[in-house]
């Protein structure tokens, strides 16, 4: 990965909407721009702009199938960030630690603790499709 392309990846990941777009596309391989827009209150044009930033970082790969454009999440740049800062040994321990973290967090009571409130602003799970007008 060139220094430039890594800049693109970090720039792309720096925006909460773009991170959420990645969650949406990861869960729906091959979805359309239209489907992605359903999850956001912002305009289609704004979503397209975010998608362009994600595509430049290669976090999203779009492929043309006939008349439609399909979007796919590409995990490779994320893996490269991971490899850059984790040696093979530290990765083993770090993944053990993150597993423990997720396990402990999943055991915590679900009702409105402060931590929980913070988490929901960006947790990937509770994505809800915006109801169509």
């Amino acid at each position: 990965m060139t220094p430039d392309s890594m800049n693109h990846v970090f720039e792309a990941l720096a925006h909460p909407v773009r991170r959420k777009i990645l969650d949406v596309v990861k869960d729906r391989p091959g979805c359309s721009v239209h489907e992605v827009c359903d999850f956001f209150e912002i305009s289609r044009i704004a979503v397209m702009k975010h998608l362009r930033v994600l595509a430049r970082a290669e976090l999203i790969v779009s492929r043309k199938e006939g008349r439609t454009r399909e979007l796919y999440f590409n995990a490779v740049p994320i893996q490269m960030i991971h490899e850059r800062w984790t040696t093979d040994y530290s990765a083993l321990w770090a993944s053990g630690l993150t597993r423990i973290k997720y396990r402990i967090e999943s055991m915590q009571p679900r009702s409105g603790t402060k931590r929980q409130a913070e988490k929901t602003t960006e947790a990937p799970a509770p994505l809800q499709r915006k109801r169509r007008a």
């Binding site: 391989p29 790969v61 490779v76 040696t87 093979d88 990765a91």
Partner: protein
């Protein structure tokens, strides 16, 4: 889903894309060579009667005693496009399709691996999507540095020789002739 359900399996697609600093011929060779093990594909031999549409493929372990996957060439257009069917010998899942696209760009090659017809929710789908990132990353490392990363080398040189004898009997190569 009841077991009697006919094979109306839902399928999905996954895409992996990476930029590789190297020549298109070097990348092409790493995914198609038959005179050395393919270090980017789990250090397996690619056995085939000749890479052309319709030809059978067998992915065999380094010792050639076991066959991990089988398939058939669909498209073969050096050095830009290559596509084949793929099925793990140890799972009873329908075959999926793997396509490699190589595009020369400034300073290197844009490599895309597309997995099609992945039978949703199966072991095949899981292994293929997990393996995909490792394959493209290892391919990049080999072309750019001459060898896979330390972790992958450890897997090939230490873990695989230890675990190979425990492969299921059904995957023995005599069951999967060309």
């Amino acid at each position: 889903m009841p077991e009697s359900e006919p094979k109306s399996q839902e399928t999905e697609r996954a895409v992996f894309k990476i930029f590789i600093r190297g020549t298109i011929d070097a990348v092409w060779r790493e995914i198609t060579k038959t005179d050395e093990v393919l270090s980017c594909f789990f250090n397996m031999w690619l056995d085939t009667t000749g890479l052309k549409p319709g030809a059978p493929l067998r992915m065999r372990t380094k010792s050639r005693k076991y066959t991990g996957a089988v398939g058939e060439v669909i498209e073969f257009e050096p050095p830009h496009r290559y596509s084949h069917t793929f099925r793990f010998t140890q799972f009873d899942d329908p075959p999926c399709r793997v396509t490699y696209e190589l595009k020369p760009v400034e300073g290197g090659v844009e490599f895309t691996m597309i997995l099609d017809d992945l039978p949703k929710g199966t072991k095949t789908a899981k292994q293929m999507t997990q393996g995909g990132t490792m394959i493209v990353n290892t391919l990049k490392a080999i072309v750019e540095t001459g060898r896979p990363s330390f972790g992958v080398r450890f897997l090939y040189n230490v873990v695989f020789p230890l675990t190979e004898p425990f492969s299921p009997k059904s995957t023995r190569s005599e069951n999967w002739p060309l």
